[in-house]
Amino acid sequence: MIKSKKTKAADYFIAFVCFLLILVCIIPLFSVFARSLSSPSALMRKEVFLWPVGFNLDAYVRVLSSNKYTWSLIWTAMLTVMGVILSLFMTIILAYPLTYDNLKGRKFFNAFAIFTMYFGAGTIPMYLLLKQVGLLNRWPVLVIPFCLSVFNMIIMRSFMYSIPESLKESAEIDGAGPIRILISIYLPLCKPVLATLSLFYAVGRWNGFSDALYFLSPAQERYYPIQLLLYQLIQNVTSVDPSQEAFTQPGISETLQMASVMIATIPILMVYPFLQRYFVTGATLGAEKG
């Protein structure tokens, strides 16, 4: 292909626009990062733009030495692990039988699941239900009620569909039952989609706070996930640690807030670029017909 000089100029222009957009994506986070590393006095003097002024790690040390914050981090990590395991398990055992075309009642189960995607009862009925079954104001409420996402199930199912039927058939001829086929053939082949869904579920759990806000009372504060704690911190509802007055002092409070935000963000930012290859396929599968 012969390219004229004009199109090349256009290419550079597009590259430049993309570069600007990259800056737009990065700068906000970077400025927070810079502020979290700056000294409080520099912040007070409004000197910090994109580069830390008076570089120090005080804020990080103070945040991580706060019991409440570190506990919340550990707790959210525990919740995330529990949630991901449970969710993956449920997703697999719902999606796998639905890949059997000759399963009697497959259409029914399919419709049964997908209907809930388009029509939900709403928050209040859910609240009343959780109250009735005694989950309200208990920590399992953060794991159990939302452990299965039908949308993710569809992604899983679409992926399983793409596995050649002949593999299943040959295993059947060798005498393997459905569960054996699932464990020995399907799960190893599903690693990409398992990675994707783990990421989706983990991000959802790590970033979510509305369920805790809805279903946990302030008396259950020790079970608040990290995001809700951050929310309260940013809204100046509470300080991270009652003993640390610094969280409410101007300047210092800001660096501490920024450090808290960065600490809560970094785990996900560390993970997602490595899973990009997988979640791109996952997100594409989800857009296919439900």
Binding site: A10, D11, I14, A15, V17, C18, L21, C25, P28, L29, S31, V32, R35, L43, K46, F49, I93, L94, Y96, Y100, N102, L103, K104, F112, A113, T116, Y118, G120, A121, G122, T123, I124, P125, M126, Y127, L128, L129, Q132, I144, L148, P178, G208, S210, Y214, Q227, L228, L230, Y231, I234, Q235, M258, V261, A264, I268, L269, Y272, Q276, A283, T284, A287
Partner: protein
């Protein structure tokens, strides 16, 4: 004997049966069997239970009477049909049909049905006691309650007031039931009764009264647990129930077996009849036993759970009733299948294996017809049965896997839908929700109330406004970005750019909100510092309504545009590159290629995503506005989800907010369907 026209003079008949003729004789009957099944009284009774469970108003007494009459009539007709019509079958080209007196037959059917009903009625009466107690409790006649509690406490009190009455109530129907089954035995000499016994073993053989018992047990279970003073009693009752069921499951087939043995006793031919009956009854007996063993613990567990968690009884009334109606249906289905497949348990014994003098057939002509018919069916069903068994043997684990997710979906997705009714009922938290009468304006009072409040109207307006802006400005953003990325010539750079663009999607709204504060804050935000340095007064998005809306929409684009490109990029990758090459050869410019090839190729994807977006036009994200809002700009930031959170969960105004929630869901559904059908009309694929 003269009731039948048949001459089994050509033996062995099994050798002479052609399949096509068999099907001719056999197939139309399945329809009749299904009709009998439908006519059976359980459907009207089930409808009645559901209605009572939902409304519990006296006007349904009429419905009850209607259901009763329908039930009696229907079941009588079903038995009658079974005797007169269903068992007509052709053998050796000759039609064997029932020729007994029609009136007499009908009367007999009616009699057995009424007897059945009496057994049921007694059970219901047993349940009414508990229901009356229940009512008394809710009308706060606590004194009576205390007295009755005292009477019921203690060992003797328990025996006298709880166990004994229930045992009485349980034993009477058993006696009656056995009586019903004894009748044909006593009068077995008459052909009519024998014929009836034959018919009885056909479709719903020994289970007639078991069904009644099942219902009665569940009925008692329901009424007992709805009153929490009956806590222990439930256990007693269920234990009795288990015993009764086990006994019945074992005894009734035995009775049947004995009865049929008597019929053919002395003249039995080579065990045709007996073999089939015995095997069949054993089979069914086991099936029922198994089902009952599952059913009873389930009811027990639910009951105890309910008592412990103090669940609103009525909702679980519905659940339990639904559960046992479901189980009844399963019973029916199993018995239907059993009737269909039972014959496999009979071995076809070739008559040649043992020569029988012709006279013996003459004597047991009627019994012979029976076995003849059964073995015919056996041949026919064999293939089907084997297919089904094979299927189940291969697939049962799949159903096992589905159990847990289905339970999850029922409990956490479908049961909340039962609570929707709270939005249409008066506000009353003392009485179970199904007992509460409808709210004003035919139940829509709460919704109308909501429309009267300024908060709700504002929330609705904000929801529509923010979602509308998101749609207009936010929806095209990923498309444009995807096209931009696609046009990017440097592959490695493209990959890096993509990775960066995906990043904001992984940030929670709390974190984005803190970023926004850092950027746009009035005094020390990054943008304002910069603007101040330039000499401008800066922007105030956290203080001014209009600027906040702009920030909300922009942050939405910032967060999701990069992520949204994934789908579009995949769709672009699916476009045939030959189109682009052909266009370049034809001298198309970059813009023309984007417009005519890329965008055209993206059209189906765009439409699908647009439908999904329209489907959530009044649905509202909670975390995004909640994290970004502050007290200064609530006039534009408070959307429906925040309204529901504040009024419902914080303000405890459950009926009002439930009504708003369901309004939201229904509107969303309507939008989704409309958008979908519009898309289909224009010729696109749609999502549903």
């Amino acid at each position: 004997m003269e009731n039948f026209i048949t001459k089994p003079d050509n033996i062995p008949w099994s050798a002479r049966m052609g399949n096509s003729r068999l099907e001719e004789a056999f197939l139309p009957q399945w329809r009749k069997r299904m009709l009998c099944f439908l006519l059976f009284p359980f459907i009207p009774v089930a409808v009645f239970f559901i209605l009572v469970g939902i409304f519990k108003v006296p006007i349904l007494f009429i419905a009850f009477i209607i259901a009763l009459v329908l039930g009696i009539f229907g079941s009588t007709l079903s038995v009658y049909l079974r005797i007169t019509e269903l068992d007509r079958i052709s053998v050796n080209g000759e039609l064997i049909s029932y020729t007994g007196d029609k009136r007499e037959t009908f009367l007999y059917c009616l009699k057995t049905r009424l007897l059945n009903l009496v057994t049921l009625g007694i059970y219901w009466l047993g349940g009414f006691d508990a229901r009356a107690m229940n009512k008394a409790r809710y009308s706060r006649t606590t004194r009576t309650d205390e007295v009755s509690n005292q009477k019921r406490s203690g060992f003797t009190g328990k025996i006298l007031h709880i166990i004994f009455p229930k045992l009485l109530v349980t034993s009477v129907p058993i006696i009656l039931m056995i009586g019903t089954h004894l009748i044909p035995i006593r009068e077995r000499s008459e052909l009519f009764w024998t014929e009836l016994a034959r018919a009885g073993t056909r479709l719903f053989p020994p289970n007639m009264d078991l069904w009644g018992l099942t219902k009665a047990l569940a009925r008692n279970g329901v009424s007992a647990f709805s009153n929490q003073h009956y806590y222990n009693e439930v256990t007693t009752l269920l234990m009795t129930g288990i015993l009764v069921f086990v006994a019945c499951s074992l005894l009734i087939p035995l009775y049947r077996y004995k009865m049929l043995k008597w019929e053919i006793d002395g003249t039995a031919i080579d065990g045709y009849q007996l073999r089939f009956t015995a095997a069949y009854n054993k089979y069914l007996g086991n099936v029922y036993l198994g089902l009952v063993m599952i059913y009873v613990p389930v009811v027990l567990i639910i009951t105890l759970m309910v008592n412990k968690a103090k669940i609103i009884p009525s909702v679980y009334h519905l659940l339990i009733i639904a559960l046992y109606i479901l189980l009844l249906a399963i019973f029916g289905f199993v018995s239907y299948l059993a009737a269909k497949f039972r014959i496999q348990n009979t071995e076809i014994l070739a008559p040649t294996s043992r020569q029988i003098p012709w006279e013996s057939y003459m004597v047991t002509e009627e019994a012979l017809n029976l076995s003849l018919v059964e073995s015919e069916r056996e041949v026919f069903c064999e293939a089907q049965r084997r297919k089904f068994a094979n299927y189940m043997r291969r697939h049962w684990t799949l159903y096992l896997l589905l159990v847990l997710p289905v339970i999850y979906l029922i409990v956490f997705r479908y049961v909340p839908m039962l609570f929707i009714q709270i939005g249409f009922k008066q506000n009353n938290i003392v009485v179970p929700i199904s007992d509460v009468s409808w709210a004003r304006e035919y139940g829509f009072g709460w919704l109308l109330d909501a429309f009267k409040t300024r908060d709700f109207r504002l929330a609705l307006r904000n929801t529509l406004m923010l979602n509308g802006l998101d749609l207009v400005l936010g929806f095209p953003a990923p498309i444009i970005l995807a096209i931009l990325l696609n046009e990017l010539a440097f592959k490695k750079y493209k990959r890096v750019a993509q990775t960066v663009y995906y990043m904001p999607n992984f940030l929670s709204w709390v974190i984005i909100s803190s970023l926004a504060i850092q950027l746009f804050n009035g005094t020390d935000g990054l943008i304002n510092q910069w603007l101040n340095n330039m000499g401008s007064s800066g922007i105030r998005p956290f203080e001014q309504n209009g600027q906040w809306v702009a920030m909300y929409v922009l942050l939405g684009i910032w967060q999701s545009a990069g992520w949204g490109t994934i789908i579009y990029l995949a769709a672009i990758a699916g476009i045939n590159p030959e189109y682009y090459e052909a266009a370049s050869i034809d001298g198309a410019s970059r813009w023309q290629k984007i417009w005519h090839i890329t965008l055209t190729g993206l059209r189906p994807t765009i439409i699908i995503l647009l439908i999904m977006r329209l489907g959530s036009i009044v649905g509202s994200d909670f975390e995004r506005p909640f994290a970004l809002r502050n007290p200064l700009i609530t006039e534009v930031s408070d959307v429906l989800s925040i309204f529901i959170y504040q009024r419902g969960i914080r303000g405890m105004q459950f009926p009002l907010t439930a009504a708003v929630g369901i309004f939201q869901s229904v509107i969303c559904l309507i939008f989704l369907f409309t958008a979908n059908s519009l898309a289909k009309k224009v010729g696109e694929r749609g999502v549903l």
